[in-house]
């Protein structure tokens, strides 16, 4: 758990070039610091790529690399617990020609390298979305923002509700760490989107694979880290304002941030951030989708204090959304569903409107967090993170109650209120022999859920306790990591059945482990292999569901005897990296023991709305095999070809069959042309991209009302640039056209694929004004 917090490794280097061409006695020196605490970091490896030169920082964080010839170099800094960073330094002759020899024999230049302390196991593949890549997704939901990453797709309910899917796993099998705290919302539902405003983060990372040791339960498919920037302690006032408009749905988003230190109060920093979003009915190429509007009001506040190795941060965020659910998706009976499928398009059509009517979801999520840490002078470190979360979810059905007095109350037909408290204590021991580093942690969670309305899941309260240790070794070009964890969870559910209260008690125990190795072969090639396990206790809906799932037209029944799922994941990757070419190839094999899924039953269930296909939550053993590949090739300095491929194959090993709801294979290609400077603009780019998504042919026979939709290909175009408006004052503008040709298509992982097409062309304009930083 050492990696829980987000702090920046700050490499403040001073680069000295002795311009005695052509002799090779230039040197680079500096200090490696942790920005969070400004404490020097001993034992960091600083190397010059391609020069076979490396040094380790001393006990005061200092390093010096000498004997360098003038030229173009990459400087790399690596330290256990932090992501390795690379920075280009240009010591070219051309550069030096600009120096006046009379000026000085030694030219001094500050280079700042910022690296992010990783919250992820070192040897697992992590995909990061930040900077300009993140800027291009602004205005989209969390899941939509992430789906450009290899191996990440979405599970959708219409156009407005999207959940992230990592290597074919989603919902409670993907853990979201929101600013260092487990997001505890209502993620068990496939139509429950993550309750997070992506504008809170300046960095979104996806850890692919089972990471149960560090994060505890639910990190079966992977982990999503939503990380804000480090607080601007003692910095001047800065901020940004984002304006985003989407043509489809006529959606407008505005988000602003203000942050800074406080004059006269040394060691203090603060940040305030807020987002407003409003959108109306979205349009497929041929018709509007009725009642698909969205409304969001989010804000977050943060403040922190640092003093001599001690630090404390307070954070509060509120996410509040209202989401219209496409009214054509309310299904009374199987006949209703078959009629819509046969029709080929929704029976209800409408024009454009911002109004949100029934059915809709009203969701809010509050997070309060306190983090405190202390760096002992000898290098040990202690951290405590405590959080409170309150999630409120109301679902309003299409029909109000028939009874007038009940209808007048306008209550949600389903209401969940989930309260969660978590605590985590972490101890990072000081580096031993400049090789070993490690972390011991203990975390607990207590939560309770209050449920009202239509029977769906019971009330419950649960608490859990986890203890773990991770140790890492960097030696002779090897990086090794090993960890163990033990979890205990106690769940009590309370139901009313036939007017009688029934209490059930469950206890789940699990041990998890992880083992990883990484090896650099030469300067450009590196190999990584990680073996990890993770677990997930069955959630209350899997234990106790009993009723018709409207929208899916299926009768779903839980099973209180389900046991926890366990994932055994192996993931290996090869990375070849040069400035003009980066290739990454990753392969994984994830074996899920006691995988919980809905198994079709032979006999339908008869209800007043007719017979419904009957599905029972059952366990099997499933294998998830896949390959993620990516390529970034720059044939010239301005042109780049980016290609990403995701391949996944899932099999039910116990029943020798395929499983439902597995994302199909996809291949994305992009050509990008960059112009560093033109007119008053900087970093201009234009790109053309194509996304090809295959047809999912690996589905169980006779398990669905309609076959998976055919393959589709979408084109998109992006252009953007930065307009400097003064010192530390920039305007970034981006224009994106998604689905340029207004292609009609449906996606297998959209639950509304029975009812309607996906949304058509969508033109978005993004403007970001950034000042003071």
């Amino acid at each position: 758990m050492r990696v829980i917090q987000i702090c920046l490794l700050f490499l403040l280097g001073t680069l000295a070039v002795r311009a005695q061409v052509p002799s090779c006695d230039c040197f680079v020196k500096g200090v490696v610091r942790d920005q969070h605490t400004a404490q020097p970091i001993p034992g960091a490896l600083v190397l010059v790529v391609g020069q076979n030169k490396a040094v380790t920082s001393d006990e005061k964080g200092r390093y010096e690399l000498s004997g360098l010839c003038p030229g173009h170099y990459q400087l790399e800094c690596r330290i256990v617990g932090y992501q390795s960073i690379r920075e280009d330094i240009d010591l070219s002759a051309g550069h030096e020609e600009n120096f006046s020899l009379a000026e000085e024999e030694i030219h001094l230049k500050d280079i700042e390298i910022t690296a992010h302390r990783t919250d992820a196991p070192l040897l697992m593949p992590v995909e990061v979305l930040s900077g300009s890549d993140l800027a291009q997704t602004r205005g989209q939901s969390l899941a939509e923002s992430l789906k450009g990453l290899t191996g990440v797709t979405t599970l959708q309910t219409g156009a407005s509700i999207a959940k992230p899917v990592i290597h074919g796993l989603h919902s409670n099998r993907v853990l979201i760490m929101n600013n260092g705290v487990r997001q505890e919302g209502q993620q068990w539902g496939s139509e429950h989107a993550p309750e997070i405003d992506p504008f809170v983060a300046t960095r979104l990372s996806v850890v692919k694979g089972a990471a149960g040791v560090r994060y505890g339960s639910d990190a079966v498919g992977g982990v999503i880290l939503v990380e804000p920037e480090e607080l601007p302690i003692d910095k001047p006032l800065s901020g940004e304002l984002n304006l985003v408009g989407f043509s489809n749905g006529r959606q407008g988003i505005t988000s602003g941030t203000l942050q800074g230190g406080v004059k006269g109060w040394a060691g203090v920093g603060w940040r305030a951030q807020g987002t407003l979003k409003r959108g109306g009915n979205v349009r497929t190429p041929n018709y509007y989708l009725d009642n698909t509007g969205i409304q969001e009001k989010n804000f977050s506040l943060a403040a922190g204090y640092r003093h001599q190795g001690f630090g404390v941060d307070l954070f509060y965020s509120r996410f509040d959304t209202q989401l219209g659910v496409f009214s054509g998706s309310h299904i009374g009976s199987v006949t209703d569903l078959l009629n819509v499928i046969e029709q080929g398009e929704p029976l209800i059509k409408s024009g454009f409107s911002y109004e949100i009517n029934r059915p809709f979801q009203d969701v809010s999520h509050n997070l309060g967090k306190m983090e405190a840490h202390y760096h002992f002078p000898d290098g040990n470190r202690l951290q405590w993170v405590s959080s409170w979360q309150y999630n409120q979810r109301g679902e309003y059905d299409l029909h109000r109650p028939r009874n007038d007095s009940l209808a007048a109350l306008n209550r949600p037909e389903l209401s969940f209120r989930l309260t969660t408290f978590t605590n985590e204590f972490l101890w990072d021991h000081k580096p031993l022999a400049q090789k070993f580093s490690g972390q011991i942690g203990i975390s607990n969670l207590y939560q309770y859920n209050l449920m009202q309305g239509r029977p769906l899941i019971p009330n419950f309260d649960q608490w859990s306790l986890g203890v773990f240790a991770i140790e890492r070794l960097v030696h002779n070009g090897w990086e090794l990591e090993a960890g163990l964890r033990y979890d205990y969870r106690h769940l009590t559910t309370y139901r009313v059945v036939n007017r009688q209260k029934i209490t059930d008690v469950f206890a789940f125990r699990n041990a998890s482990g992880t083992l990883g190795a990484g090896r650099a072969l030469g300067d450009h090639l590196s190999l990584r292999l990680n073996l990890g396990t993770a677990w997930r206790a069955p959630n209350v809906s899997e234990l106790f569901s009993d009723g018709v799932h409207h929208g899916a037209a299926a009768y779903e029944r839980g099973d209180a005897s389900l046991r926890p799922e366990q994932a055994f994941n192996s993931i290996g990757s090869i990375q070849y990296s040069r400035p003009s070419l980066t290739v990454e190839l990753g392969a994984y094999y994830n074996y899920l023991r006691r995988y919980i899924y809905l198994k079709p039953q032979p006999e339908p269930i008869l209800t007043v709305r007719g017979a419904f296909p009957f599905f029972q939550y059952t366990q099997t053993d499933a294998s998830f095999r896949g390959v993620d590949a990516s390529l970034n090739w720059k044939p010239t300095a301005r042109l780049a070809w980016i290609s990403k491929l995701s391949y996944l194959r899932v099999y039910d090993e116990r029943n020798n069959a395929y499983l439902v709801q597995i994302p199909s294979n996809r291949w994305e290609n992009q050509l990008r042309y960059e112009v560093p400077q033109a007119g008053g603009w900087q970093q201009l780019f234009v790109s053309v991209g194509n996304l090809w998504v295959g047809e999912q042919r690996r589905v169980p026979v006779n398990s669905d009302f309609a076959p998976p939709p055919p393959a589709y290909a979408l084109w998109n175009v992006q252009l953007g640039g930065t307009l400097p408006m003064g010192e530390k004052n920039d305007l970034e503008v981006g224009l994106t056209v998604h689905n340029v040709f207004d292609t009609v298509y449906r996606d297998y992982l959209n639950r509304f694929r029975y009812y309607a097409d996906e949304i058509g062309r969508n033109i978005s304009l993004r403007v970001k004004w950034k000042f003071g930083a």
Binding site: Q452, W463, V496
Partner: protein, 188 residues
């Protein structure tokens, strides 16, 4: 509210597990399915008589739990005219809730649809209307054909206004099923 109290708890106690904080979860509220229909009764009264013959579908504990307890086969005389009245109940509630009355009050957004297979076995004529002159189907007239066997499907279409605009147009198309039951029918 209770929340502030809890927040202070957590700040004070740190890692301590808060066993004592779960007092509301163990008090579940009774389930509240507002739309539940547990019982559908069809009352056929032969013209010129006053005593109906009744056929029912019953699932007293609602969806899930125990299977339906009653699903009658309909038996009628050939070439005879009957009035047909529908009765809907929610027997899971105490006292038993009369859904028929609620449909009557909301008839602008409800429509019963009766489908016979084969079609000649029984024909149905609506006997009631809503305020806009559209049929409802709580009462009507049926005329049986020659002896034979088949099915009689009873659907209650809930055609609630969409965005404040009425969608009921007298056809089964709009809305969704509240009832969809296919009774076996014998005409003898």
């Amino acid at each position: 509210m209770k929340m502030n109290q809890k927040l202070s708890w957590v700040l004070m106690l740190g890692a301590t597990v808060l066993f004592s904080q779960c007092k509301n979860a163990d008090n579940p509220e009774p389930e509240d399915p507002n739309e539940l229909i547990t019982t559908v009764r069809l009352h056929f009264t032969q013209q010129g008589t006053t005593t109906p013959v009744s056929f029912a579908w019953r699932d007293p504990d609602g969806e899930g739990g125990n299977p339906p307890t009653q699903f009658d086969a309909i038996t009628l005389k050939a070439n005879t005219t009957y009035t047909l009245e529908i009765e809907l109940l929610d027997e899971s509630k105490t006292p038993i809730e009369e859904i028929t009355q609620e449909i009557e009050e909301k008839k602008e957004e409800h429509l019963f649809v009766f489908t016979t297979s084969p079609t000649g076995l029984l024909t149905y004529t609506y006997g009631d209307q809503d305020a806009r002159g559209l049929p409802v189907g709580l009462t009507g007239t049926t005329r049986t054909g020659n002896a034979g066997t088949g099915t009689f499907k009873v659907q209650l279409r809930h055609q609630a206004p969409v965005g404040g605009v009425a969608v009921k147009d007298g056809t089964p198309g709009p809305g969704s099923d509240d009832v969809n039951l296919t009774f076996n029918l014998t005409v003898q």
